[in-house]
């Protein structure tokens, strides 16, 4: 029985290998699609990394530590292209001609004034023709100056507290200085620690509510499985047409006259198309992993059973379409249209930040009716979120149940005779 199933599967694979057109659709098209889509996303991601480049002139007239630190801090900001000038006039000139968006002038005695806790200011001259850039520079400067301001505030606070202390007033100037520096060091260390591990974390989100933590690779863990699942279901039409072609060409008659059971015939074909679907997944995800750094997750071995089950669902769906169609052409068309529609509903085409199964409301419920959505959810969980095999078992179970349902309908409804 199993040998016969294998014989039919092998014959089917031989026929597939001769059908170059279908192979191109099943392998080359998704690869092309993936390369273009993935490439575009990579390009956008690279652009995001570079940020917006704003030309800024800096004049540091201060001789103290704060002027030096602020200048150094400005140089480390990727979004700014800093040019140092000697005088304010030199820095303002490019702003006037529109070559630079802003000029920052750190006044002489800035450090001393901060230390003395007397009001001071850093002048930011902006180009009114570039309001967005000016706004960015002003925002950055506020952040940078905050550091110095905090420093000054703390120093002033320490000095005010110590000056009221008898022990401090009786100490020598060197001792006073050391005492103040020690307190300042302790406070600043504590402050920096709080900045690194804030009690309340703020997570940035884009307009659609996606976490942008993890970067483009995590997005690829959704995008490439989405494309893969969509194209795996393209075999539905091919698979359905192949079974009906046997009937139309008369070969089914010959198979029925041989000592084969109908389930061996359907099983053999299912097996062959499962192998094809598995090969599709390996090629597409392999290319994504190698060329686009798509992660395979913490449990890459769990991808194997998931892929086999996905392949079974797609092949069984093909058999079901064959059982419900009259001609190979009808089956092929139905399979292809169904593949597109279900891919859309299942979230394979217009991908959001997470699989559609996680969306609330009607769309989320609708997507859960498709095998595409469950497959995509399982792939994303494994690869993008490092889920374990056990964690994706429910999705695999749902997929398996769907496949068995399709296979049962196929075996029940398929007419082996004309």
């Amino acid at each position: 029985m199993f040998k016969n199933t294998l014989a039919i599967a092998w014959k089917e694979i031989q026929l597939m290998l001769k059908d170059r057109g279908s192979l191109a659709i099943l392998f080359l098209l998704p690869l092309l699609f993936g390369a273009v889509y993935g490439g575009m996303n990579l390009k956008f991601a690279d652009t995001d990394d570079a940020g917006i480049l704003v030309r800024v002139g800096v004049v540091n007239l201060d001789t103290g530590i704060f002027g030096e630190e602020i200048t150094a801090a400005l140089h480390t900001i990727d979004e700014l292209q800093i040019t140092d000038y000697e005088t304010a006039a030199e820095a303002e000139a490019p702003v006037a001609t529109g070559e630079a968006a802003a000029a920052i002038v750190i006044p002489a005695g800035f450090t001393e004034q901060v230390n003395a806790y007397t009001p001071t200011e850093i002048e930011v001259i902006v180009d009114p023709a570039q309001p967005e850039s000016a706004s960015i520079v002003t925002g950055i400067m506020n952040q940078v100056v905050d550091e110095a301001t905090i420093w000054g505030e703390i120093q002033y606070g320490i000095r005010a507290v110590l000056e009221d202390s008898d022990a401090f007033t009786t100490a020598s100037p060197e001792q006073q200085q050391a005492f103040a520096a020690q307190n300042l060091g302790v406070i600043m260390t504590q402050l920096n620690e709080m900045r690194r591990n804030p009690a309340i974390a703020v997570v940035s989100e884009d307009l659609e509510g996606a976490t942008i933590e993890g970067g483009i690779e995590i997005f690829f863990a959704l995008m490439f499985p989405g494309l893969t699942v969509m194209f795996v279901f393209f075999i539905v039409g091919v698979c359905a047409a192949s079974l009906l072609n046997e009937r139309e060409a008369g070969t089914l008659r010959r198979l029925l006259a041989a000592p084969l059971t109908p389930s061996a015939i359907i099983g053999g074909k299912t097996l062959a198309y499962m192998a094809l679907a598995c090969a599709q997944v390996v090629v597409l995800l392999g290319v994504a992993a190698i060329f686009f750094n798509m992660p395979l997750g913490a449990s890459p071995l769990a991808l194997l059973p998931l892929t086999v089950i996905l392949a079974f669902v797609a092949a069984a769906m093909g058999m079901m379409i064959a059982a419900l169609s009259k001609t190979p052409k009808q089956a092929d068309t139905t399979g292809t249209v169904l593949g597109f529609v279900l891919a859309g509903i299942g979230g394979c085409i217009a991908m959001g930040p997470t699989p559609l199964t996680r969306t609330t409301g009607f769309i989320g419920i609708l997507s859960k009716l498709t095998p595409h959505a469950h497959a995509l959810e399982a792939y994303y969980s494994l690869m993008g979120e490092n889920a374990t095999f056990v964690q994706v078992l429910p999705e695999m179970g749902i997929l398996l149940a769907m496949g068995l349902l399709f296979f049962t309908i196929a075996a029940w409804r398929f007419r082996f005779t004309d």
């Binding site: 040998k3 008659r253 006259a257 005779t417």
Partner: protein
Amino acid sequence: MAAILEVENLSKKFGEFEAVKGVSFAVEEGEVFGLLGPNGAGKTTTISMLTGVLPPSAGAARVGGYDIRAEMHEAKKINGLVPQDLALYPTLSARANLNFFGRIYGLQGKDLKERVSDVLRIVSLTERADQRIETFSGGMKRRVNIAAGLVHQPRLLFLDEPTVGVDPQSRNHIFESVQRLNRERGMSIIYTSHYMEEVELLCSRVAIIDEGRIIALDTIKNLIALLGGGVINVGLTRANEALLAQLAALPAVKEAALISQPLAPPPGEGAEPKERPASASGVTVKIVAEHSQQAVVNVIGFLNGRDITLTSLEILEPNLESVFLHLTGKKLRE
């Protein structure tokens, strides 16, 4: 000799339509048995039931002693089917096709390789074995189609109209192959065709099938003997029962009957026999002769003597075609 196939009252219904109406026949081991009938007579449906492609609606059959209802799986191992359609995978080579059809009968390894080489030799396609079937001529495809039915060495081979659409050269090759398989390997063959020449050439016994029923079954010699020395169709302007009786009584004439049109009702006692009213084209009387030439002379002399106009005369040589016409009133290829 033991029967390899016994069929009893086998029937097949498709809804209300009964395609096969209780056919019964037996095929001896080593025999080439013909199923002759026009298209749609029920030949393919009968074969489909015997090979397990279709379940019978009623009746029984045993293939090599196996009941086709209870033990079809075993019966299938004995059977070989060469369907009327080219049941092959055109994008695969002849060898790949034969390998596949061998594998589904359980052949593998060296046995499979030898069997495939053997059948390729039988159909004279060894040289083209590794080429795609879609590049073959119609006749070559037919030969691969036959080879696919032979690869597992069946004891009983069903050849369903194997020469449809085949050039004369390939047809002769197929005939030779069938004769050789039967003669040298003792293979039992059921050969269906609507070409009476093929059946006459290949088969020892023939069942003539029409509208789902077997209407005659015998050796070709005995079937032809039904027609005696031949059949003469005589066109007349008029005829009646008395005339038919007089024609049948002539020397060298065996029977005389009207064709296709009902006879006038028999006359009542003492009444004059009514003449059959002549249509625009008259009537046709079929005369079964013991000796056709002598019968023609006698019939023409008789009609001249009674001033009956002869409108047409057709002499049919005694063969299966004329037997079929004699039995059904139809031509085989109608």
